[in-house]
């Protein structure tokens, strides 16, 4: 079940919200847990078992860590628990990739089971890891209630596409939370905004990006238009989903941290990654980068740390070599910014620095979106004129004319201006804001009823 489906919006969500609101306080987590399992089983009935294993394994690990005093024992428990979590993730997400790579490189014939990827496995595994590591570190107490812990791991708003919520951030809310009418209203506003980003912007930008990618030959400007459309699509797709998750969390009485902070306004790639998928960057910072020594080490070791973190970040996004290349691309850019170009970049005017960052990020999305290396190479070639059908052509002008309004509006939504205006409007003229949100929801519904193109890019990570 995806958030941007009529079934979810008009049946599942109202039923669950009502049940949660009406349930006695002590039963609310139970209601939320049942609803989350229903949500997951709708799309992945087979893999509910895997998620329940993750819940049980990490719950018992937390209790075990809480009861163990000897540091060596605690370390062994943590190492075993992390290894099992990573083995599960590795088998269900990376086994096929590993086997294909080994078979291709060494001429082996290891069996590839072609297992479908369990939805959300990367997200809930990372949440579970953050919990047991924090319990090990002593910064979090073990959760004594299995229902409360299972609610944290399986919570449907952020189960399949994040944000990755650290246990410590919602520990208190798991025990005691309030969902006032005002919070429900604010949450609903955020859900509608996220839905609009996804349905009205991302889906339509996706049609343009796909059309450009499907063309056998592109002019330079067509290739850039297609790449820019994809960059906008993935931003509105993923940030829209995050908005909906945060909004639903708010309606349930949870305060999830923001996952995006207008990333396309970043002045550097370093800043871009502070603004894009913040919960994932934060996870890697807290649980991989800093334990490796962070930047408080020599230059050589620091470079190695960055390479390791970005290799893992790339692999986290998918079991394919293009994601590895994408991660290394960012590692190289970040290392260059840190040690070579950073000072020069900081002296550039804002507009120039932002444009340069956008170009680098857009090229990154071309690597990200092409699992086929020959298609990736061809597209990257078009961007710089290699193999391209000229600098500009009729197809570019047609695509630009047909989508000018969409692209201009999407670009406007990449900055904070429109959101600030909406917040001011909601504060000063709530009735007008209500009408606007109702109209937005009606427009999204109309699109969902009539449109069939409704992919979700981050669903399979």
């Amino acid at each position: 079940m995806v958030f941007s489906s009529l079934h979810f919006l008009y049946i599942y969500l109202p039923v669950v919200m009502l049940a949660h609101l009406l349930a006695p306080r002590r039963l609310r987590n139970g209601v939320l847990l049942a609803a989350s399992l229903w949500f997951y089983a709708w799309g992945e009935p087979v893999y509910v078992g895997l998620m329940l294993f993750s819940v049980a394994w990490n719950y018992v690990t937390g209790l075990q860590l809480g009861a163990a005093a000897r540091p060596s024992r605690r370390k062994a428990i943590l190492a075993g628990a992390v290894a099992v979590n990573l083995a599960v993730l590795g088998f269900f997400k990376y086994y096929g990739f590993l086997v294909q790579t080994l078979n291709g490189a060494l001429g082996l014939r290891l069996p590839d089971y072609n297992l479908p990827l369990p939805i959300g496995i990367s997200f809930y595994t990372f949440q579970a890891l953050s919990y047991i590591i924090d319990v090990y570190r002593g910064t979090t107490k073990p959760q004594p209630s299995l229902v409360d812990f299972a609610t944290y791991i399986t919570m449907f708003p952020q189960l399949v596409a994040g944000p990755i919520v650290k246990y410590a951030d919602i520990e208190a809310q798991l025990q005691k939370r309030r969902a006032t009418l005002a919070q429900v209203g604010q949450g609903l506003e955020r859900v509608i905004l996220g839905l609009a980003k996804k349905v009205l912007l991302a889906n339509n930008l996706g049609l343009l990006a796909d059309a450009m990618r499907a063309a056998p030959r592109l002019s330079v400007l067509s290739a850039w238009l297609g790449a820019a459309a994809y960059a906008l699509q993935i931003y509105f797709d993923f940030s829209g989903y995050s908005d909906m998750a945060i909004g639903m969390g708010r309606m349930l009485g949870f305060g999830f941290a923001e996952n995006f902070d207008y990333p396309y306004r970043a002045r550097s790639v370093t800043e871009f990654w502070r603004r894009w998928h913040i919960s994932l960057s934060g996870w890697f910072r807290d649980y991989v980068y800093i334990p490796l020594g962070g930047n408080r080490v020599g230059i050589g070791r620091h470079i190695l740390n960055l390479l390791a973190v970005w290799l893992l970040t790339g692999l986290w996004h998918g079991a394919s070599w293009n994601f590895v290349l994408w991660g290394l691309y960012y590692a190289v850019l970040l290392i260059a910014e840190k040690y070579v170009t950073g000072r020069a970049l900081s002296k550039l005017p804002d507009g120039v620095a932002r444009a340069l960052t956008l170009v680098l990020v857009t090229v990154g999305w071309v690597i990200f979106s092409n699992t086929d290396f020959s298609a990736m190479g061809r597209y990257l070639g078009f961007l710089v004129g290699i193999g391209a059908g000229g600098f500009a052509d009729g197809a570019f002008l047609y695509a630009l004319r047909s989508n000018a309004l969409l692209i201009a509006f999407a670009a406007l939504c990449c900055g904070p201006g429109l959101r600030q205006w909406q917040l001011r409007l909601t504060g000063r003229l709530p009735a007008v804001a209500l009408v606007l949100f109702a109209a937005l929801l009606a427009a999204c519904t109309a699109y969902l009823v009539h449109g069939s193109y409704n992919p979700f890019l981050y669903f399979r990570f």
């Binding site: 075990q64 072609n114 297992l115």
Partner: protein, 182 residues
């Protein structure tokens, strides 16, 4: 001057909660539960792998079984051009494939089986999702029966095989395919 006391214990030890836990008995119980969970995980993984795997059979067996299935005789066996025209993708990256479809543009019935490596099947699966979306967009407004059939499309991945079927007899075509590879 204020005297600062610095603990000689390592940081991890200092941070560890110094609770008087339930002790060795509880640790043993937790360990037993975790071993049981691991055994359940392995059994579960074996079941999932078993359910997703497929016997490697000669493709002619599948071809004959699908051709003999109810309702397929009314469809045409498509050549490479026909496949490409419908799926907007080439079947050549696959080891072997078959596709039957109707000449009547109002008839959405079609069945396809392809055998290949994961990358080839991934691409083909994306292509057939696009095909389904395009067909749905065509028939959504006026073809109630066609829309229902398209929404009930069968798409299966088993081992090195990809199966796709739309039609009144899609369930029987699926059974015929599964009988070959089990």
């Amino acid at each position: 001057m204020t005297e600062h006391r610095v603990s000689a214990r390592p940081a991890a030890q200092r941070r560890a909660p110094q609770r008087r836990g339930p002790g060795a008995g509880a640790q043993r119980r937790y360990a037993i539960v975790k071993w049981a969970l691991l055994a359940a995980l392995i059994a579960y993984a074996v079941l999932v792998v078993g359910a997703n795997s497929a016997r490697n059979v000669d493709f002619s067996v599948i071809r004959s079984a699908i051709a003999a299935a109810p309702g397929v005789s009314g469809l045409n066996a498509l050549d490479e051009n026909g496949f490409q025209e419908r799926m907007d993708a080439s079947p050549t990256p696959c080891e072997d494939w078959l596709m039957f479809g109707s000449d009547d543009i109002m008839d959405v019935s079609e069945v396809m089986v392809a055998k290949g490596n994961a990358a080839a099947l991934d691409d083909l699966e994306s292509a057939l999702q696009r095909r389904l979306e395009a067909q749905l967009a065509v028939f959504r407004s006026y073809g109630v029966n066609q829309k229902d059939l398209l929404e009930g499309a069968r798409v299966l991945r088993r081992g090195d095989y990809l199966f796709y079927a739309v039609g009144e007899s899609a369930d029987q075509w699926e059974d015929a395919f599964l009988a070959c590879i089990r």
